[in-house]
Symmetry: D2
Subunit: 352 residues, 4 copies
């Protein structure tokens, strides 16, 4: 890329060197395929230590696959999933949940990407009425697509609410490392201890090559999952190379160091641009994303130097993501560019 830097997404970053090293380390001789090898078993134990004894992790290829197969294991086709209108499963998976599971998604509008019992409540209706899809899972993203974070108490409030209505709580944890680092709590505190039922645990965005896990905190779906994963096209044959990536990131809490760095870079960026003419930070910067509005005519020139996405054309809201390898220098260069007067004359103003 000819850009000075990329704030497009945490998946434009490469892999942490430890991850590639771990993959090379397991590359010795033959090993049983499909996860029946010792590397996989060892890594599953590593994850159980991090997530709690009830955790049953299964490795899969990708994030969409993790979400879809996790949900598939607990849903009947007539069930529906209540989720934020901004959730990855609703907005960014090309309808994969509906296609593969056959279920309905009920999107809920939120100010900050976060569900609450109060927001979810009105969508739990038609229970027992055969004309309605049956609410069965509440799915939240941790951290959210807006870079906000659920506290352990907020997760627990949702899991208690879910269970009181006979629903399950799913966490899309593509960026759960960023949440745990932001909260400075162990992963357990926002998963098993907070009563969640199932988790998509991502590491791809946090320094892996490509590896995700589905984690169940209940027995039944874990029993079925081997079929669900295979049928969901998410069963890696040479599983040791997926496990190795988790091993690297769960050794000496590399996952936390990577995530904490990304979070720090986002805070640095946010602090840097705050007050720049025409720039308004629109969401709490709690993880590794910064959302801001800026004058429409300044977006394209800025994108010529730094790659990032426009989140909402209508409001000129943009998203700036940092990652495990974002350098302070890149952030500072970006901040300087945003703060410079170079965007040219009129129009821009304070405005939006």
């Amino acid at each position: 890329m000819s850009h000075s830097g990329s704030f497009a997404s945490d998946n434009t970053a490469g892999a942490h060197p430890d991850v590639l090293a771990a993959m090379a380390r397991v590359n010795t001789g033959h090993a049983p395929a499909y996860g029946y090898d010792e590397h996989t078993e060892r890594t599953r134990l590593l994850l159980r230590r991090a997530l709690g004894e009830s955790a049953q992790p299964f490795f899969v290829f990708g994030g969409t696959g993790a979400n879809v197969t996790a949900l598939d294991a607990v849903l009947l086709p007539q069930d529906c999933i209540i989720t934020a209108a901004t959730a990855h499963i609703q907005v960014d998976e090309c309808g994969a949940p509906e296609r593969h599971i056959g279920c309905k998604l009920l999107p809920v509008e939120t100010p900050d990407g976060k569900l609450t019992p109060a927001l979810v409540g009105p969508h739990i209706k038609g229970v027992g009425f055969e004309h309605h899809a049956q609410p069965r899972v509440i799915s939240i993203s941790q951290s959210t697509e807006y870079g906000t974070v659920y506290t352990p108490e907020e997760v627990e409030a949702l899991s208690e609410f879910a269970h009181s209505r006979r629903l399950l709580l799913h966490v899309d944890g593509a960026r759960i490392a960023n949440a745990a680092a932001s909260l400075n709590v162990p992963l357990k505190a926002i998963t098993s201890d907070a009563g969640i039922d199932l988790l998509s645990l991502g590491i791809t965005k946090n320094g892996a090559v490509g590896a995700e896990a589905v984690v169940f905190f209940r027995e039944e779906p874990a029993k079925r999952f081997k079929y669900v994963r295979k049928q969901g096209m998410q069963l890696p044959s040479k599983m040791r190379f997926v496990a190795a990536q988790f091993e690297a990131l769960f050794t000496d809490d590399l996952w936390r160091r990577n995530a904490a760095h990304a979070n720090a870079m986002a805070r640095r960026l946010a602090e840097g641009v705050r007050g720049a003419p025409g720039v308004t930070i629109t969401q709490q910067v709690e993880a590794n994303a910064v959302f801001a509005t800026l004058p429409k005519n300044r977006i394209a020139p800025l994108q010529e130097k730094f790659f990032f996405y426009v989140w909402d054309e209508a409001t000129s809201e943009v998203r700036w993501m940092t990652s495990w390898d974002t350098s302070p220098e890149e952030v500072d260069a970006f901040v300087a560019e945003v703060g410079s007067g170079k965007w040219g004359g009129g129009g821009g103003g304070g405005g939006n």
Copy 2:
């Protein structure tokens, strides 16, 4: 593993060192995600050179995903796929094609895993009749699950037959490298030049970490495929690491060298055990698999030393697979064990 060697499957092997090296090489800085990076583009051109100018390759995670999304791109739900009763899509994908695409599979009995126009013909019926699923694709495995190989002429006969009946020809090429090496022809000769329409191109079994491609030789499905791949949960975000694996194997024909070696090891194994008491080779050994029957009471003792699968309990037929890293010594040790008198006394005999 404590086994002396594994003849279980070519996916119990590890990755070729060049593959890991290529992955490390692309791990520099940020790159656009989802395949919009230069590494991916470069590798797609490399594949087009190997497969013909009409080839449109797309990288995906796994073999089942490659088959399902390739077929999904050309089928309507009411269509059906005619395939060998032994085909991976019929037997080894846990019903993923039916689940995800919604289509019907029509299994055809074959002596050797290979379809012919004569075998397929009677299954093309009910065309235009709304009560029947509509035949739309013939799917063959190259090499087959029995380790047999279609010649270029045989592929061409099938593609001509398919087109004459308004069907398409799909090749499950999880082991197409072994076929091309066995035939000593370029990949083109058994793909574009032979008139096939779509291909699942696997390299995982041939020395990669985990990487497959869907290749279209027609425009329409290629246009749609970006949605099909995403919805099919087969879109790697850090695509460059998948592309790099292809790059390694398509540089200096590493794919062919790996496959030729595996094939040679299978022939060595077959030659070695031919004539051993009670052992009958049941299929032509044309790629990297040896199928044989042997006395039932000899299977378990042999499996204690070498890992392999029983293919058919009823007939005591077993499958021995070789791979890119199988050593002549392993083969010879195995052959010695099979040929030894250690299996004990009675019963066995020549028999089956």
Copy 3:
């Protein structure tokens, strides 16, 4: 039923005598099954006269089946449907569209159950972006689930808008007869002349025993539909008995007389209760439904005498439906009950 009358739904009504008579009339000897009979052919022509020469009608069993198969014929699984949050396909079909088609539905909040280009516009996004489901169909209900009606101009505005964005316009016409009667226009005026692309044409709620049609105004989906209908479990074998019901209702415009009567009864009901203490009509009464809020404590007592549904528990909004056979006496008895002081003392008040 022991109730004095039912305002629950237009499908609690029975069948018009002409419908049963027509069914008896076609019950003579053998006829080809699955719609290849002369009764079916004759009735299809009758519908074309009513709906316009481009109309291609196909008979199916039920309303959900009509909607799902109609949409299935024009959608790819990665497509999505934009519809009102109150639409039958969104709320009352137990997720059948998602299950059977695999597509996504995007619900749009509306004040009155009616979509407009301005409401739909912001939901058409991510076009060409593989992470998003692709907007392909706008689906409206005519008359709406709120008993409101789209004028021909409003339908045309939506179809022009849809086509300008390369989308199609689907009309769920379970109650299209009520709309046409309300507008006093021919069916053509709100279908083919208004540029719609596909229609679910219902007669069950308007005096039939059970019969619906899918009508295409374009060639391509009509060609595929025979497979879609069969696979969608909507192909009646003794089709003549379904066709006969349409024949009865499309002879001498019985459909319009039935619908006009139902509409008149709804207006009579609305006029009657308007001004009753605590009763507020919440939607325009344009077809055969009356929506109103009334004091919460008055709902149950009223339901003991007359059967009807609570639409929204939170706001005490109820729905009163009239049908082709609702008598003025029933309406008047109901109005008298609503207007009576019998609901008991306090609380009620004007208020809600």
Copy 4:
């Protein structure tokens, strides 16, 4: 039709007058929709008396819908159904089971359309192995598509076999009346008493207008079925008219009289043509179908006078179906035509 008679299918016949009369009888005033009416409840009890106290019947629209929703209620998507290669669900439903349920069908070759434990056994494999679809249901047709009939003992042997392997037994009873009449046993004898788990109970082919039932003999699927039926687009709104058809046929065993008549006509036809030059009856005539081969050049001339289907072009095998309203005169006219020398000269001979 201008034909002298139709032996095409039992669904080219019309409805028995009692059926239309029963539909008219329930057409009085309003009744709750969707099966919550007294007519439906009364008829469900009637069916329980016929099928056994464990029977839980649910009415649906059509035969394909009955099969698909019945199976959907007991299957997970990774499950598979073992059925005869000639079964309606395999051959005549346009892939609806795969499409809607997502499951795999395993077709078993049979000589006479009948499964046995011995035929099924080899197809129960890969149990517990995640690469294979999991065998879960054995589905038989009673009477079969070849007009053959399972005895109570044969059904019981299959249900015991199924249960011993943790499978369920489904009966596609589109023509179960013909089987019971042929065997001269109560319906119980070949359903609940024979240990079957789920039944598609058809009456459309036996004198109804259009009505089928799904019957469960276990609790769990019955509990879920209300959602499955709605989502499967098989929930009639004015259910009383479907129930009435069952009521007519289950009053004074009209179903048995209709079926016995159809069976008798088939026997009359078979006896009549047996020995005609070139005609060979190919299956036991146990229900209301006659299968025969006859000289190829005689088929078209015969079809000009009587409508029937060619079953297998390759072998010149045809199917002649009789129905509840087939008259002895029609049969005799047909027999006379078959036996006449009019088919012209050479070739025909005894032959095939």
